[in-house]
Amino acid sequence: MSEIFMIMFAAILTENFIFAKFYGICPFLGVSDKPSTALGMGMAVTFVMTISSAATWAVYYLILAPLGLEYLKTIAFILVIASLVQFIEMFLRKNIPSLYSALGIYLPLITTNCAVLGSALVNIQEGYNFFESVVFGFSAAIGFTMAIVVFAGVRERLVLADPPKAFRGYPILLIAAAMVAMAFSGFAGMDFTR
């Protein structure tokens, strides 16, 4: 059981996808202008990452590994994740319209997101079993959500700041992101095994 909690805490804090591994920087900068949209994006990522962790684990260990095709995992995962998200989108639209409209535009946006693919690849790299993979995917996405929502709060303040002309827009955004990432590096020394 402590193994599972270790994976969760590491995925959320010490190995945070955005601030420690720098996965998913594109949605992190793209949809973090308001906490509400950031939360929507985070929810969609959580949803997709959890499900894709399960699906890619199955594809890797049931199809690729027995045939000795491990080296093709990246392309296989992209294929599986993209079609899976498409499938889920259709399913939600028919059966759970409220969730469909809540996740809205974010769902198709993250089909080929590197954070989603990254979580699938890390699962294989670390040799997680099925349950651990799902927990890792879920917690990594929670870490992603936390990071993007926290940064959306920072960005709301940035709007009111008056930086020099050369820094306006993305430059100051990247500097702010770097500072938040540095703050997060404080978690790096924490060891959850003890």
């Binding site: 294929l79 079609s83 498409q86 259709m90 639209r93 008056d162």
Partner: protein, 284 residues
């Protein structure tokens, strides 16, 4: 050979399986779409200005087809779009008047007095949080251009501390009326002939203290209007645009010179704001 054939085969099967899954899903989970929504969308200007209160033209079209919004909701498309949408929806659409935005304030920096010098963030909302902005008048234009930033048609400019709408560019979407923290931008009929350039609801005594060009509710315009189109509501003259004939009587009677008049110019029938020059001199 096997090293190449096997992966190709596996991926063909995997791809085909995924494709089949999606093909089946698109049939099983097909959602019936309202065709009218797309027809309505084709009638709309497609500016996605948000003036209707929905997130874009597509959302508005869907709301209309669902019966949640009125076919006349799009002020940009105006009567033409409303008529077409009405035809699609099978309802009669009454005459729809083309609107334009009008800033109801004449208090430029030389006429309206200030209580302090504001040097904060150049944004009306921010300024209005600090003692209700630097202008003494609680209903005066703050002039920091929140409406300028909000306008999707780039039709607003701030001149001499008061926002002014360029009617040649205004699409009448009403986004600025919601953006203004003071609520002093109003939509008026495009061919409104006169309008009161003030939104102050304070008594005449107070208005005299903070602005040279504020409505003091003297009722001269209301008494002299031959069409009885002007009434005084909350210490402010209000013109009923449907009754106004543009006779200019109120313009000449107003002691504060804040009843503005528009004139038709050229074949386009554009309304250009004009304030009589001699009236300005008198105030000075």
């Amino acid at each position: 050979m096997k090293a190449i054939l096997l992966p190709v085969l596996i991926f063909l099967v995997l791809g085909a399986a995924m494709g089949a899954l999606l093909a089946v899903a698109s049939r099983v989970f097909a959602v019936k779409k309202d065709e009218r929504a797309e027809e309505i969308l084709a009638c709309l200007p497609g500016a996605n200005c948000g003036g209707c209160g929905f997130t874009g033209c597509a959302a508005f079209a869907k709301a209309v087809s669902d019966g949640e919004a009125s076919p006349t909701g799009c002020s940009v498309g105006g009567a033409e779009a409303a008529e077409k949408i009405g035809a699609i929806m099978g309802v009669e659409v009454g005459g729809m008047v083309k609107m334009r935005a009008q800033v109801m304030c004449s208090g430029t920096s030389e006429f309206a007095r200030k209580k302090y010098i504001y040097e904060g963030v150049p944004d009306c909302v921010a300024a209005s949080k600090i003692g209700g902005s630097d202008k003494l008048c609680p209903n005066g234009c703050i002039g920091l251009g929140t409406c300028v930033a909000a306008c999707p048609a780039d039709a607003i400019k701030v001149e001499m501390g008061v926002a002014a709408v360029d009617y040649t560019k205004c699409i009448g979407c009403g986004v600025c009326t919601n953006a203004c923290p003071r609520g002093i931008i109003q939509l008026v009929p495009f061919d409104a002939k006169h309008w009161v350039g003030c939104k102050s609801e304070d008594s005449g005594k107070k208005v005299r203290q903070y602005c040279d060009v504020g409505c003091i509710a003297c009722k001269l315009c209301a008494k002299n209007c031959p069409e009885k189109a002007i009434s005084i509501e909350n210490h402010l003259a209000v013109i009923d645009y449907s009754k106004c004939t543009g006779c200019d009587v109120c313009v000449s009677k107003c002691p504060r010179k804040i009843i503005w008049s528009g004139e038709q110019q050229g074949k386009l029938g554009l309304v250009i704001a004009r304030i009589p020059e001699d009236a300005l001199k008198e105030v000075e």
